[in-house]
Amino acid sequence: MTGSRLRLSAGHVFVSGYVVLLVAFGIVPTVYALNLAFTDARGVFTGFDNFVRTAQDFRFLAAVEHVATYLVLWLVTLTVLVLLLALLVHRLTAGWSRAALRFVYYVPGALAGASSVLLWLFMLDPSVSPVDDLVRALWGETFVQVISPGHLPWIFTLIAFWTGAGGWIVVMYGALNTIPHQIMEAARVDGAGPVKIALRVQLPMLRKWIVYMLILSLAAGTQLFVEPQLVSQASFGVVGNDYSINQLAYLYAFNQNDFNGSAAIAVDLLIVALCCAGLFVARGGLFDTD
């Protein structure tokens, strides 16, 4: 009894820091946003008015479409390429090449956030890019042609993949190492080749890790802000500063002085992200116990 109470207390201590931060920076802001979203500037309850008003804004559906397109591209390419590269690294027999590749994959992640976008702004401007021939061949002769609306979801996917995928490859590689050697050996004895082993053994056993990656990447992807904001600044406004949903929420708060509308958009995002994450958790069995 004393031992179990002690373990319980130690457990409480371990999670208490997380709980305090969760309440302070997660729960309280969410409750505050919910309060703002259902009231007007004077604090009077207005029902769903803010949600209806912001959804009718001419920029809202466009921003939703932009983010949705980007998310589909980003999540599909991320999953396919990360798994492919992790499996390839895992198959390499020479230890030094595995270590070197894992390091190479991880390095771009060190250049995260705004600095990564700034680097990409140079990469994408044909007049200064070190790979200008490739940029010209793919997207156009001038920076404005390169960042035309149709190219942006691909460009943002490229930036996100560059900065985020390396870390996930390393994580997936680690997860692949946890698959018992006997299972792999049994599959080989049964005549399965590398492709069959990957599809029938390794990927099903990585399912929880994949779902985990998708949930975190979805959460980051719906928050798209820095990339379009910096591209907008660099292009002197050719890419609008209302490209993503987060940017629109920012404009509502700080350009239109409408914090209630901004909160309504934030709550919209929260609901969508929670629903998608719930779906991934349910379908991926993230919390299933073995």
Binding site: P29, Y32, D57, P126, S127, S148, G240
Partner: protein
């Protein structure tokens, strides 16, 4: 015991949540606005001693430093920020946070956009102070060039002092003109005809740019295109498909098609690299001389000249647009109004800054005369500089307003990508019309078509 701990944690979380749910705009501080019984047209904050907080962009840092040098006894806290360049809305963002916090506003601020008056002078908790209701004397205010304070004025109340003007003139390379044997155009029709001639005789040379967000301010504003007529604090008339807009659009399309009008951004790295030495002519604001030709393009001394602003043949006198031009604002929350008043009066009018240091054409007329003479005496320019620039200062069309949103941003987002995709400006005018209408409606404007 465990149950009680859980209860305590839950109660604490609930308390925090309830605390966070206070009405967002709860009146936690007195609003220093309202005009009843005030000598300045607003109720000033309680006046205190202390440092004067001044926000400037990096270019206008010289103005604040010059003031400090001339007034060593005044305590200044100078903060540099982006000056709201390219529609960044930095000032608006910060002011809205300061409004919620009830503190933090700068006493004096410089902006490079023309939209500040439309938002900062409105509402119960307006930010900028009226200047012509007792704060500044008429002698100071009447010294500014005709129309210079239009961007500062809402419903007859002046809220800022204009730092510099940005009237459009015709910059040209005299050396190339003499070499090619061309005559300087005086109308937009002659300008277009010369463009067609240049395309045929000297391909590669350019006579204008349309790749930047200020193209509408040069060509549409100068052509009296009624796409942006602000008729009241929350009312705008938008007629972007008016024949006057169509003819300017057609001219741009023709010159873009024959490549004498560049689609590259004037301040992008590629323009200077590939077309910097191919500029034959460039309609543009007065500040192009120093910032673009001397600074970015490094045009050699003695080649650059300036001609009168262009007019359409049915206009009796030239009508020009206005591309930028900075403004000084004074906060009505300031607890150091006398010092703030002295600061903006000095930086906007004193020779020590406006004539000696300012890179732009001063809006304050007496300083402008001396500034232009100084530029002329520098020997950089070929021919007369004072005549065309001074004349254009009074020719800015007053029919183009300064609403709460940025017309430059609307053009950049709507027209430039369309042009890049191969569409003509003429075909994009209906889209431009819709984009302006939608943007105006977002800010609560009553739109008349």
């Amino acid at each position: 015991m465990r149950r009680r701990t859980h209860l305590a944690v839950t109660a604490a979380a609930a308390l925090l949540a309830v605390a966070a749910c206070a009405p967002p705009n709860a009146p936690t501080q007195a609003k220093p606005t309202g005009s009843a019984g005030s000598q300045y047209g607003f109720a000033p904050a309680e006046q205190k001693a202390g440092k004067l907080l001044v926000w400037v962009d990096s270019t206008r840092l010289d103005a604040a430093k010059a003031y400090q040098k001339a007034h060593p006894d005044v305590q200044l806290d100078i903060v540099t920020y982006d000056g709201n360049a390219n529609g960044s809305n930095t000032l608006k963002t910060k002011v809205q946070l300061f409004d919620r916090a009830g503190e933090g506003w700068p006493d004096v601020v410089f902006t490079t956009d023309n939209n500040t008056a439309s938002w900062a002078s409105q509402g119960d908790n307006a930010f900028v102070a009226p200047l012509n209701k007792g704060l500044l004397d008429d002698a100071t205010l009447s010294g500014f060039a005709k129309g210079a304070l239009d961007v500062c004025t809402v419903d007859g109340t002046v809220y800022c002092l204009r730092n510099d003007l940005a009237q459009v003139v015709l910059w040209y390379n005299k050396k190339l003109f003499d070499k090619f044997g061309y005559t300087l155009p005086t109308t937009w029709e002659e300008y277009q005809a010369l463009g067609e001639k240049v395309a045929a005789e000297h391909p590669g040379y350019i006579i204008g740019t349309a790749g930047d967000a200020w193209a509408p301010e040069i060509y549409m504003w100068g052509g009296e295109c009624p796409a942006n007529q602000v008729t009241g604090p929350k009312a705008i008339t938008v007629k972007a498909t008016d024949p006057k807009c169509v003819r300017a659009a057609k001219m741009m399309d023709k010159l873009v098609a024959n490549k004498t009008m560049s689609m590259l951004s004037l301040f992008g790295p590629e323009f200077a690299k590939s077309q910097g030495d191919k500029v034959l002519m460039l309609p543009g604001p007065a500040w192009y001389g120093g910032a673009v030709f001397q600074g970015t393009l490094k045009t050699p001394k003695g080649e650059l000249a300036v001609g009168d602003a262009l007019r359409w043949s049915d206009q009796s006198t030239p009508v020009t647009g206005n591309v930028g031009g900075g403004t000084w604002w004074l906060s009505r929350h300031s607890a150091r109004l006398d010092a703030a008043k002295d600061f903006i009066g000095w930086v906007a009018t004193a020779d020590a800054y406006q004539v000696e240091l300012s890179p732009g054409y001063p809006a304050y007329a007496p300083a402008a005369t001396k500034w232009i003479k100084k530029q002329q005496d520098s020997g950089y320019y070929a021919g007369d500089l004072a005549g065309p620039i001074s004349a254009a200062a009074g020719q800015v069309w007053s029919g183009w307003g300064s609403p709460e949103f940025s017309q430059e941003a609307v053009w950049a987002k709507t027209v430039i990508p369309g042009q890049t995709a191969g569409k003509t400006v003429e075909s994009l005018l209906p889209e431009w019309q819709t984009a302006i209408e939608q943007q105006a409606q977002v800010f609560g404007y009553q739109v008349t078509k």
